[in-house]
Symmetry: C3
Subunit: 135 residues, 3 copies
Amino acid sequence: MNQTLTLHPPTRGLHEFTGEVARVVSESGVESGLCTLFVRHTSASLLIQENADPSARADLERWFDEHVPDGTGWSHTQEGPDDMPGHIRASITPVSLSIPIEGGRLALGTWQGIYLFEHRTRPRARSVVVSVIGA
Amino acid sequence: MNQTLTLHPPTRGLHEFTGEVARVVSESGVESGLCTLFVRHTSASLLIQENADPSARADLERWFDEHVPDGTGWSHTQEGPDDMPGHIRASITPVSLSIPIEGGRLALGTWQGIYLFEHRTRPRARSVVVSVIGA
Amino acid sequence: MNQTLTLHPPTRGLHEFTGEVARVVSESGVESGLCTLFVRHTSASLLIQENADPSARADLERWFDEHVPDGTGWSHTQEGPDDMPGHIRASITPVSLSIPIEGGRLALGTWQGIYLFEHRTRPRARSVVVSVIGA
């Protein structure tokens, strides 16, 4: 069973959508199986990260700013200084993720949340396909 | 249903094989499900990237050249200066990827292509297993 | 079929557990399908790497030490200088991996082993869920 979520990240960075994915799993009625996410873009990705402390998310975004900085040193710049870094950030972070389903729920660890990792400074709507397999 | 593709990347870098994967999905007859790719090597990986502009691919390869450079500073060098960087590049990019299938086709976004990311300078044949699950 | 493995990494770094995953696949009786792993933590991840040469693993760990160093420059430091680097390392390496099953066995390449990549210097027990799909 596949269902497409449309997300509206307000800014660059990490935006949690664990609740939306949990709702799709719940509606599927699958008790034991696998939930796979896929982002249909080349300048946004997915991340499972600590959902307790906002400072962890800020530090993580700072690491990406330092190692894949915006700038004008790229060949591919027609969409702006944040476009090429967006493609590179989406290359070293997942575009697909699979999470087991147990007892009808996502088997996430205690501290894990599911995030859209938006890499553009002026984001648009983003599509994430949720595939649920199991019985 | 699993099928193994044998790819012959002519050089280091990104080589699109979206068409080969689409053919396996089409032949499987699966209308709705999941297509999972797995590369059976430790110095090549997979990437979903922009398939429109070659300059985006060149910039991406340049980032990897700068951050995981070839060289002689490694312990593991018996296979050449591009061997260890190959293993590291294959650690921070995917060896497996899952793409939803909808309407009998890969549900890729408009700008997404599927690439083999070859990390060796003198590549050999590479095996990628395509697993199709669904109905 | 999902089964949870509890691993006890003795140190930071790469710890192979290919054998444990192979045992779950064998016990499942699945001949052809897909085996998906998911680590239920935000400071440990998974890696498929060369299982022949320990020097390759040492070089890989050194690259991560250099590019995502421990330190006190982070905001999120209450759990120690290795906590935030752990989250970042777990962001640029996989938390989920899918490996095809063929002939009742993991279809790994000749040189591939499955590793837990532990990012904390004083590790605790780690849970990895193994999901087997197929027939």
